[in-house]
Symmetry: C2
Subunit: 261 residues, 2 copies
DNA sequence: CGGCGGTACACGTATGTACGAGTTGAGGAG
DNA sequence: CTCCTCAACTCGTACATACGTGTACCGCCG
């Protein structure tokens, strides 16, 4: 292994030693001296190079990990994080013309990009709407909803979890209650049930993942998530579905087209 | 100060001690036992309560800080993070009808929500387009652009930095080169110059902030940013502006309306 | 030649100690 | 009463040490 050239510490600087070390390694990553997947020198080597205690090195590495620049692998080393291929979500991905191909949006897109899509952890229940969902769907607190939750994977890697809520009044007894909602997905079913879709509203937040989300999406440390809530409206102006999704932020770019009118 | 009730450690668990401690405090926050702004017990108190070393406590607190749940203040203590009021960015915020009021989008929105908007760090230069900007604007590598950078603040708190790029061929010698671009902002100027705006495309990413961004936006640890790149197209289909903005993710919710057509 | 185990190496967890530096409030000096 | 000082408390940084646990590799043994 070629030796990574790292500067020495600046003893006159009032910047904390561990920050200086983090700066050195960050610079090496930013300048490409350390490329994606490369191994950062081991804690022992860094201790030796800088002549500092292990805790100091670990603090420095912790900073970088918190910035999402590196990941530590137990027993192997610390590596520059590699970024997965990015999925671009266009604002027309739910357009009817796509749905009429008979495939759900996720499947069609992923195959189009050469990936192998899959869906797991499908669970369907009927329950009382939460306050937030009830408000978005224009329901009262006693109303029941069908809850469809699932997880999307590309080439076996989880990238997104989604939970849909549909008023039970609409979906009860239909294929929407089945794990396989049929060709075109639940939006196709809703249209067959007479709810011609008019528009969607998407609300996007970004935050650090909860513990469950780290597990479900196998997120690396320092990776935030998109939290996207989509509400579907039919041509009568009625909200017919709310979909609450959490996406690994480094697997996605969201793209929207807005009219200037 | 009322004493925070925290469970004891489970010595039979194989979960690391510092994680168990982080779990306890996280639970207290999630259940509202610790509210926003509340002080987490000091490191010394936690050491005493759990009978562990200080490093173990600090590890636990580090976990929570990385999750964006707490902030440490030197000399004061560790506090449950409070969230700033959220700005909702609607997808029609650049609609012409708003622009015709004579105010830039940011000013109008913020005043509407009762906040005091301000803009600083305005800098305008003319330079060669970067590869990325050139591609978005449909320019070649030698073409010049006007670069307008600024920072937006609400009640003195920075919330967003923005850099606009306009082809020099369009903007040179116009008010777009002036720090005060006039009523309605640069979009109004572009329309006066004959570039009637047709639509925008916004690309949204989320990631952890760079060091400069932490400083410019005074970001708390564990807060990701939205990175939004908007391209404006005129009715001839020509890209006339690219705006690259970085926003504190906990100050914003982005909202878009998409047609189902 | 193939599997098994040992060993070196990597990071993970935890203890203990020491000193620095920012904040706060009580108490004394003026 | 006011102002200042100082002590106490807080988190920040850094040292040294020990043992646990996962990974990779190589050589021995069957």
């Amino acid at each position: 292994m070629a030796e990574l050239p790292l500067p020495d510490l600046d003893p006159t600087s009032d910047r904390a030693v561990f920050r200086q070390i983090a700066d050195h390694i960050r610079t090496a990553i930013e300048q490409g001296v350390l490329a994606e997947g490369d191994k950062v020198p081991s804690e022992a080597r860094l201790m030796q190079h800088y002549g500092v205690a292990r805790m100091t090195i670990r603090n420095a590495l912790q900073v970088l990990q918190g910035e999402g620049l590196t990941v530590a692998e137990h027993g192997r080393g610390v590596f520059v994080r590699s970024h997965p291929p990015v999925r671009r979500l266009a604002s027309d991905r739910f357009a009817r013309r796509h749905r009429e191909q008979g495939k759900a949006a996720f499947i069609a897109e992923t195959e189009g990009a050469g990936g192998k899509p899959s869906v797991d952890s499908i669970a369907i229940t009927e329950e009382r709407a939460s306050a937030d969902v009830a408000e978005r769907l224009g329901l009262s607190a006693e109303d029941q909803v069908i809850r469809r939750s699932r997880r999307y994977l590309i080439n076996g890697q989880p990238v997104e979890t989604a939970v849909s809520y549909i008023p039970a009044e609409i979906a009860r007894g239909t294929r929407i209650e089945q794990p396989d909602s049929g060709p075109g997905g639940i939006y196709a079913r809703l249209e067959e049930l007479g709810h011609r879709l008019d528009h969607f509203v998407e609300e996007i937040r970004s935050r650090m993942p909860l513990r469950d989300e780290v597990r479900a999406l196998k997120l690396a440390p320092g990776v935030p998530v998109f939290h996207l809530v989509r509400t579907a409206y039919d041509t009568d102006g009625r909200a017919v579905e709310v979909c609450d999704t959490v996406m690994s932020s480094d697997a996605y770019v969201l793209s929207y087209e807005l009219p200037a009118r």
